[in-house]
Symmetry: C2
Subunit: 171 residues, 2 copies
């Protein structure tokens, strides 16, 4: 049975009717995130990247090619030990290098190499063509999805400003 339908029915059958749609929605989000990652991993495999490595590279790419490791962890919202593991891997691939921070000697900077820059561009091109351009939804549905997810984030105080809401809320 489909995991979302299963969760829904389990909640209904156990007398938690008022939470059944909520659990189905949460299960759907978790599932879609998993499938998204698997799909992106597949798209990036021919250029020897994973979605996690891409996320790291793309953050460097759009920050003038470099960021301190601590900042990178906060941006990616992953634990510092995971940043280290990830940075080790892409450094071994020659896509980034670690350089000392010019003013803070306890801090290390991850810097995109020229090879890393080219591969990041290729990765963006692949993901644009094979994932981002067509999520299996109409343009209007994509807008609705973003608006709903933004509304959830706002209820958890995950929005500093209303900017995402302003941009994507249906008029």
């Amino acid at each position: 049975m489909d995991p979302i339908v299963e969760a829904y029915h389990l909640w209904m059958d156990n007398g938690w009717e008022d939470c059944a749609a909520g659990v189905a929605a949460v299960t759907s989000i978790i599932r879609v995130r998993q499938v998204l990652t698997a799909r992106a991993d597949q798209i990036l495999a021919p250029i020897e990247l994973t979605f996690s490595r891409y996320e790291l590279l793309v953050h460097l790419y759009f920050n003038d090619g470099q960021l301190p490791l601590a900042k990178l962890g906060r941006r990616l919202q992953i634990h510092q030990t995971s940043v280290t593991t990830l940075v080790d891997k892409v450094e071994a691939q020659g896509l980034i290098r670690r350089i000392p921070h010019p003013t803070d000697r306890r801090s290390t900077i991850a810097q995109l190499t020229p090879e890393g820059r080219i591969l990041t561009q290729q990765a963006i091109g692949r993901l644009n063509a094979e994932l981002f351009r067509d999520l299996g939804l109409t343009g209007e549905e994509v807008q609705t999805l973003i608006a709903l997810l933004t509304k959830m984030r706002r209820s958890w105080a995950d929005l500093d400003k209303d900017s995402a809401a302003d941009l994507f809320s249906p008029a």
Copy 2:
């Protein structure tokens, strides 16, 4: 700047207009998944659980209290080494125990203890009251969200049958 808005503008400014909404939607899903997990971790912290541990326990709970480790990994869609780490932790807490498989000697079964059963019920109660019951959306919006996520899954062939679509598609 909000990460979703930032991704959207980066894509617009780089000439990838036809992929900008898609990248914003994918970033939103990733972000909401992260916030969901953080929120659930917070709700479960007083009873010394994390959302990952809860997910493992709840699968056992709704499968007559036991599952082979390999099956558990497939259900949770996590790597076998992660299953082992997770099982070690909840076993150390006395919530499950490992027992040998009755017929397959290479397989191990994770079995919920009576303490584990009680804690799982408490965890469900907490998550129902503090998360699943109110996702910050109206009932109709929750249905729309599930329908959109289901449509995305269908386009990636992540649905065996149309059951989830039947259940949640707006009429």
